[in-house]
Amino acid sequence: MIKAKNVYKTFKTTDRREVKALVDFSTDIKKGEVVVIIGPSGSGKSTFLRCLNRLEEIDSGDIIIDGVNINDKKVNINKIREEIGMVFQLFNLFPHKTVLENVTLSQVVVRKRSKNEALEVARGLLKKVGILEKENGYPSQLSGGQQQRVAIARALAMHPKIMMFDEATSALDPEMIGEVLDVMKTLAREGMTMVVVTHEMGFAREVSDRVVFMDEGRIVEEGTAEHFFTNPTHERTKLFLSQIL
């Protein structure tokens, strides 16, 4: 479903140094697969996610989603993005809109659904993430965990084929991480194709089909969670795991 081939991405810092975020990065994610990407900060995990929906433009290589090369000049990127839900570290809910409006807006504007249809979808999803009673509240009136669950509902409302999570629990208080992870786990069990950047090793171990360990823009090691946590082969992986576990 997602094919990345020899992707390079370099950032220029403000003092004009070049930072290599992705170096000859290739991977293949199948439909229904839950891939967890881990690695130290600055290893290019988030950059890879952001390249998948072109929030960042790659320098060279190919990213092919559902048979479409997304960096092709002729491709309408908005159409691609409709199919890829994204959940951000800082939620990025629309603060001037109520919870319900947050979840219905893009359905009406982008998917051209009727108001009533959008409301029905939104209420269903808010119920699923367990936050229906707050539907008329504003994001500022919700806790971090609640906001992130609304953000997940907002992304799901587009009925995307792929869901990406960019450190979705990193900005949350510890007691709220569980409620968000539960939603993500449900989603994974329902067969959603998911690309998850996270520091939650428990999540990786429990639901991931594959764990990818990145460092300095490259894949150092990848395999099943089982293999990864019990029997890592690379020195860099062992060091990383010893630091976080």
């Binding site: 409709e82 839900g85 990025n92 982008v110 500022s140 907002r154």
Partner: protein, 300 residues
């Protein structure tokens, strides 16, 4: 806590202490509370004003200058009952010259505020465009307008552009003020857009929204809410700056005042009255924006 009136009072006191619980106030009660605040403020401002004017008046009389005040002539410059001329002999309540000037100033201010917002929004977005040409063009416009005097701009637009395009004085005056306000509003809008966290644009785009839709539904509403105070300041300035169009013989409030003084020599009374009439416009705008600001604070 059970009876209706008491419960409201209790909630109100709680609300003043805890801002976060604001949304619990019954809507009609909240409205009334806001109206009260505004009346109170206006009264305080007017009382202070009266004290200042009163003492100025007192000191003036102490200076030994003999001036015979003709305040009684002012009402008829605002409204009078009678016939206008031989051509229009019907006797009815008519606007006096100052009131006619007031209406024209109001008209030109509203028109140029409207066009100023449109120009400013376009320029503000253009200033942040990816296209260098768009960016440079908008920057040139802003710098050109901000760094030349409005009075000169009015002359240029009236005499040069106005002659070429056969513009009326009103159109030329409105155009000059709109273009002038647009440059300032453009910078305010740009700052407002830049103050919105970039995650908002990313979230909108990741949901498949186009750049235009993200601007329309997500970025601009938030930016506008944030720039209401500087915008209000800008439009208050615009109302006052509109007095400059009197130089192209537009019969605005200032123009009528100058004419009135030339005709009657009541300079003191007329200019005080005119200042008060400007104050009515600017103060109303000031209060209105504060009211809007509070209404929009609900989602904070």
């Amino acid at each position: 806590m059970v009876c209706g009136l008491c419960r409201r009072a209790c909630q109100a006191t709680k609300i003043t202490k805890k801002r976060g619980e604001r949304f619990r106030i019954p809507p009609f009660f909240k409205e009334r509370r806001l109206v009260l605040t505004f009346t109170k403020r206006s009264i305080i401002t007017l009382v202070v004003l009266a004290i200042i004017i009163g003492s100025a008046y007192y000191f003036f009389s102490q200076r030994g200058i003999t001036y015979i005040w003709h305040w009684e002539k002012m009402p008829e410059m605002l409204f009078y009952h009678g016939a206008k001329s031989a051509d229009d002999p019907t006797i009815r309540l008519r606007m006096g010259v100052l009131m006619m000037g007031f209406m024209l100033t109001l008209k030109i201010s509203i028109a140029s505020t409207f066009f100023g917002i449109i120009i400013g929004t376009v320029v503000g977005i253009a200033r942040l465009s990816k296209e260098p040409v768009t960016r440079w063009l908008s920057l040139t416009y802003v710098e050109l307008i901000r760094n030349t005097p409005l009075l000169v701009q009015i002359y240029i637009i009236y005499f040069f552009v106005g002659t070429m395009l056969r513009l009326s004085a009103f159109t030329a005056g409105t155009a000059a003020l709109s273009i002038f306000a647009g440059a300032y509003v453009g910078e305010i809008v740009r700052a407002g857009i830049q103050s919105i966290h970039k995650g908002q644009m990313e979230a909108s785009r990741s949901l498949g929204m186009s750049y235009a839709n993200a601007m329309r539904y997500i970025i601009l509403p938030q930016a506008f809410k944030r720039i209401i105070p500087p915008l209000a300041g800008q439009f208050i300035s615009l109302i006052k700056d509109s007095s400059l169009v009197s130089v192209i013989a537009l019969a605005d409030l200032t123009f009528q005042a100058i004419q009135g003084v030339a005709r009657t020599y009541h300079a003191f009374e007329i200019y005080f009255t005119v200042a008060f009439l400007y104050l009515v416009m600017t103060f109303t705008l000031s209060m209105a924006t504060q009211y809007i600001e509070r209404r929009l604070a609900i989602s904070d």
